[in-house]
């Protein structure tokens, strides 16, 4: 949380500097969608229970993978820096191809991977990885969580069945917080 705050503060400072450059006007800019999404990615680690087989051992880190182009800039790294969830460190890994994407618990599939989505989804079939993406029809394609923008707010679209099929337990609170969950 401190992380988010720090991060937002850093962004705000940048914006303040820009505003000052732009004519001395004091303006507060809302965080951008990718920034929010980066934070959301980190938070998933708290509301999802992975089966024990998902980790090599009790101390293995929770790995957040980014497949394709990273839209977050440094925001995701900032979001996880120094954090631990349920006793595990959280790390970010970036993959070029699905084949590389092994050993992660949360996998963000970048919009750049839209063409290989089907291949990716099939590759991930049966793996206990929480899949997250901005892509349209991601949920219909067998994805678990999709970020959607509603009234300038990042909202979640969740496919619990997919998660359940993958052996993941999503917190009911996550489900309740997600707007239109299950609606796809």
């Amino acid at each position: 949380m401190a992380l988010l705050r720090t991060r937002i503060r850093a962004a705000a400072a940048a914006i303040l500097i820009a505003a000052g450059v732009l004519g001395g006007r004091y303006a507060v800019a809302a965080p951008t969608a990718p920034q929010v999404e980066a934070v959301f990615l980190f938070y998933f680690s708290q509301f999802v229970d992975w089966p024990p087989t998902a980790f090599a051992d009790g101390r293995a880190p929770i790995v957040i993978g980014v497949l394709g182009d990273d839209p977050f800039g440094g925001a995701l790294d900032q979001a996880v820096a120094g954090e631990q969830v349920n006793g595990r460190p959280v790390v970010v890994r970036r993959y070029k191809s699905i084949a590389d994407a092994t050993g992660c618990q949360i996998l963000y599939i970048s919009s750049s991977e839209a063409p290989q989505l089907a291949q990716i989804m099939s590759a991930l079939k049966g793996r206990d990885v929480l899949t997250v993406s901005d892509l349209d029809h991601f949920v219909q394609s067998g994805g678990m969580v999709r970020f959607i923008l509603v009234d300038q707010h990042v909202r979640l679209l969740i496919n619990p069945q997919a998660a359940q099929a993958a052996g993941l337990k999503l917190s009911s609170k996550l489900l309740r917080a997600a707007a239109g969950s299950g609606a796809g």
Binding site: Y43, Q46, F47
Partner: protein, 817 residues
């Protein structure tokens, strides 16, 4: 009322404690509730916060609607910005702008809870704010307080009502008791009693209170009575003390008795007070003193001083045995003394014994007109008083006796001193006389023998010798008087009947130069008055002595009148009773002893008076002492002493009246001649008897006397041998006896060294019992007077020896021998 307030306070306190407890437990409960509720809400808010779903959060908070006491709830994100709130309709500015510190705390009227929102143990997602309204609690507490106050009020009301009704039963009697106690303590009136209002415990208390008052009253009465008794006792003691002191200041019985009776009458209010003295042998009481106020009664009853009251069998006899007798009522007494008093209107009688050394010597009589009016205290007082009086009276008697004894002792001491002084003087005079007699003995003997034997003497020589003889004779007589003025009896032989008038006239004539001429030269005039009794007074006496005495008296009188005055000489005739105890006892000796028993005797007074300086007491006391003089060098101090000696020898009294400035009268009181036995005459001298010549031994230690005696005796044709000492005399006598020529008579001196006249005469009588011994002595008259004539002496002759006497003695003794 107190009870009421106390119970109200207790009740109020209890309620307050209860309310406080309720309040505290409610707060604790509220705290617990808000924490529980907060936990639930926070847990449900995590995802909404994490994924920025405010509407979801609003839904979660809306669930708080079920808990009406939560008035506000809000969730803040990690930036501290309000994220969602409840009630959703409320304005955001109704909520705290920023979340407060984590924890529960009480705000005004509410419990405020800030708690962190986290998913599991992970990092903080935001803050939940809850506001738990406590207004209801306060309302509740207020209600409780109201109920408690109401309850208290009701309870107090009930208590008051109950109290009122109980007070009727309890307070009234207690107040009554209190009023009674107050009255008693304020007024000191112990006769008040509290009314009894019931038979319960309070009734018993009232009874106890009244009983206590009864006892207090009794106690106080008793104490008052005791105090009165004590007071009376004290005043009696004080009175006793005063009387004792007053009595102690007095020494004579009469005034002691008067003081006691006066106090009895004035301080003890007796109507009759008297003290009687008891005569045990006669069984009689003599009234010694009667009180001033009792005199009327005493006169009426014939009980004045020195009235005699027989000791009757009743009270008085018991009293004189030492008992105090109290007759409460003598009105009907049949015994004489009480009935006598009863006649005087007296009814109560106390008779107290006066006892000293366990002997009753009197009684104290006190009586009052009212019957039974002597208390036991009075009797005790009288008893003690009588003891004190008895003691004081006894002491007064002792004191009196002591005074008398002391007086007698002083007088006898004075007499002894006087006698001793005169005796010493007499001894001295006697010694002087002895020596003078020895010294003049040869003169007397030679003169006498010359006048007798020397026929060829011229007329002139004969006259001279006669004068010498007279002078020697006078010397001898003077010496004899000087020596013997203290020995009255010795002069008796010389007394002869004398008519005083011519003697007095002669003396006045002879002393005229002294009483008339000499004073006139100084310009002083002494007038002479004479007054002679008729018929003319005659006494038995020695004329020369009387002449000398009178001369001395006249000289004294003249000397006392340096400025002139009147000299009176008179004779009187009077009758005198024997007066042994008169002031002049010491000096007067026993002048009238012989006549004493036969009543008054006739006396002749020879009086010499002057109007001169007089004598003070000291001079008066010492004037008769030899050598005492007031005239300095001019006086010898022998004048009055010789007058005194003369008076003693004449069995006369010497009286001296004198006071400073009042002149002096000296009176010589002679027994009159008709009264005094005519003892004059004495031994008739054996004059004219022929003396046969004898062998005479003279023993003397004085050669002059030996010589003169030898000459004289030889002149009478005696053969005389002399021995110059006692032993020599004895030896000479023995030698003469051995030679067959014994002495026919021995004349020996009395006083000689080693062997005196007594031993000489004893030796001679033992050797030759029939040889007469004549003792020649300067002490001769003393020896005769004291009957000390030694046993072996046939005759005592005085020095200086008179030839006539010597011849008479020799003639008598020579004849018998």
């Amino acid at each position: 009322m107190m009870l009421l307030v106390t119970s109200g306070a207790v009740l109020a306190l209890t309620c307050a404690a209860f309310i406080l407890y309720q309040y505290q437990s409610y707060r604790a409960l509220a705290r617990h509730n808000v924490q529980t509720l907060g936990g639930v809400i926070a847990s449900n808010s995590t995802a909404a916060l994490a994924f920025d779903n405010a509407s979801d959060e609003t839904d979660v908070l809306a669930a708080l609607h079920a808990e009406g006491r939560v008035t506000q709830a809000a969730v803040y994100d990690t930036k501290g910005e309000l994220f969602a709130h409840y009630p959703a309709a409320a304005q955001p500015n109704a909520f705290p702008q920023y979340p407060g510190r984590d924890g529960v705390r009480f705000d005004t009227g509410a419990l405020v809870y800030y708690l962190p929102v986290r998913q599991g143990g992970n990092s903080r997602l935001g803050t939940l704010y809850l506001r738990w309204d406590l207004t209801s609690l306060h309302r509740e507490i207020a209600l409780y307080a109201l109920i408690a106050a109401g309850m208290t009020a009701i309870a107090m009301l009930i208590a008051y009502i109950l109290g009122r009704s109980l007070q009727q039963q309890i307070s009234t009697p207690i107040q009554t008791l209190g009023r009674a106690a107050l009255f008693v303590s304020e007024k000191g009136d112990y006769s008040v009693r509290a009314p009894k209002l019931g038979n319960d415990e309070l009734g018993a208390l009232t009874d106890a209170f009244n009983h206590m008052l009864d006892q207090l009253t009794d106690d106080i009465e008793e104490r008052k009575a005791f105090g009165t008794r004590l007071q009376r006792q004290l005043s009696r003691l004080d009175l006793l003390h005063r009387i004792t002191r007053a009595v102690g200041e007095r020494q004579d019985l009469q005034s002691i008795f008067q003081v006691v009776i006066r106090h009895l009458e004035e301080d003890v209010q007796v109507d009759f007070g008297a003290i009687c003295l008891y005569e045990p042998h006669e069984e009689i009481l003599t009234v010694a003193s009667v009180g001033a106020h009792s005199r009327g009664t005493a006169q009426e009853l014939a009980l004045m001083e020195s009235a005699r009251v027989p000791v009757d069998r009743n009270g008085l006899s018991r009293c004189v045995r030492g008992e105090l007798v109290y007759e409460p009522d003598i009105g009907a007494s049949k015994y004489p003394f009480p009935s006598t008093l009863a006649r005087g209107g007296l009814r109560a009688l106390v008779v107290a014994p006066l006892r000293a050394e366990s002997r009753v010597f009197g009684v104290l009589v006190a009586a009052r007109r009212e019957a039974e009016s002597f208390s036991s205290g009075d009797c005790e007082f009288l008893r003690q008083l009588s003891e004190h009086v008895a003691l004081a009276a006894h002491q007064a008697q002792l004191y009196d006796a002591l005074q008398r004894a002391y007086q007698e002792l002083r007088q006898s001491q004075e007499a002894v001193v006087q006698q001793e002084r005169l005796r010493a003087l007499g001894q001295m005079a006697s010694g002087v006389a002895h020596d003078i007699n020895n010294a003049i003995s040869p003169i007397a003997l030679y003169t006498e023998s010359m006048l007798e034997r020397e026929q060829g003497l011229s007329e002139r020589a004969r006259n001279y010798l006669t004068t010498i003889q007279t002078a020697i004779h006078d010397v001898a007589r003077t010496v004899s008087r000087m020596r013997e003025f203290y020995r009255p009896q010795e002069g008796r032989a010389a007394l002869a009947r004398i008519d005083l008038d011519p003697v007095i006239r002669g003396v006045l004539e002879l002393t005229q130069a002294r009483w008339r001429d000499l004073p006139q030269e100084r310009g002083a005039v002494i007038e002479l008055q004479t007054d002679f009794v008729r018929p003319a007074a005659a006494i038995l006496g020695a004329e020369n002595e009387i002449r000398d005495a009178l001369t001395n008296l006249i000289f004294n009188a003249v000397d006392a009148m340096a400025e002139g005055g009147t000299l009176s000489v008179r004779t009187k005739r009077a009758l005198r009773q024997e007066k042994r105890d008169a002031a002049g006892a010491g000096q007067s000796n026993s002048a009238l002893d012989a006549a004493a028993a036969e009543g008054p005797v006739e006396v002749i007074c020879l009086e010499v008076s002057d109007t001169g300086a007089g004598m003070d007491a000291e001079t008066r006391r010492r004037c008769l002492e030899p050598f005492f003089t007031t005239k300095g060098e001019r006086g010898t101090g022998m004048g009055l002493a010789m007058v005194y000696g003369m008076a003693q020898r004449h069995r006369a009294e010497l009286e001296i009246d004198s006071a400073p400035g009042k002149g002096t009268t000296v009176r010589v009181v002679f027994p009159s001649a008709s009264e005094a036995a005519d003892e004059a005459g004495g031994r008739q001298l054996a004059l004219g008897l022929p003396v046969r010549p004898m062998r005479i031994l003279i023993v003397d230690d004085d050669p002059l006397i030996i010589e003169s005696l030898r000459e004289t005796l030889r002149g009478d044709a005696h053969r005389v041998t002399a021995a110059d000492g006692g032993q020599a005399g004895i030896d000479a006598f023995a030698a003469a006896q051995a030679n067959g020529e014994p002495f026919e008579l021995v004349i020996t001196d009395l006083g000689m060294p080693y062997v005196d006249g007594r031993r000489v005469s004893a030796a001679i009588k033992s050797a030759s019992p029939h040889t007469p011994v004549v003792l020649l002595t300067g002490w001769g008259q003393r020896l005769t007077a004291e009957n000390q004539v030694p046993p072996h002496v046939d005759r005592v002759l005085n020095k200086p020896p008179r030839l006539k006497e010597l011849r008479a003695a020799l003639a008598e003794l020579g004849r018998s021998a």
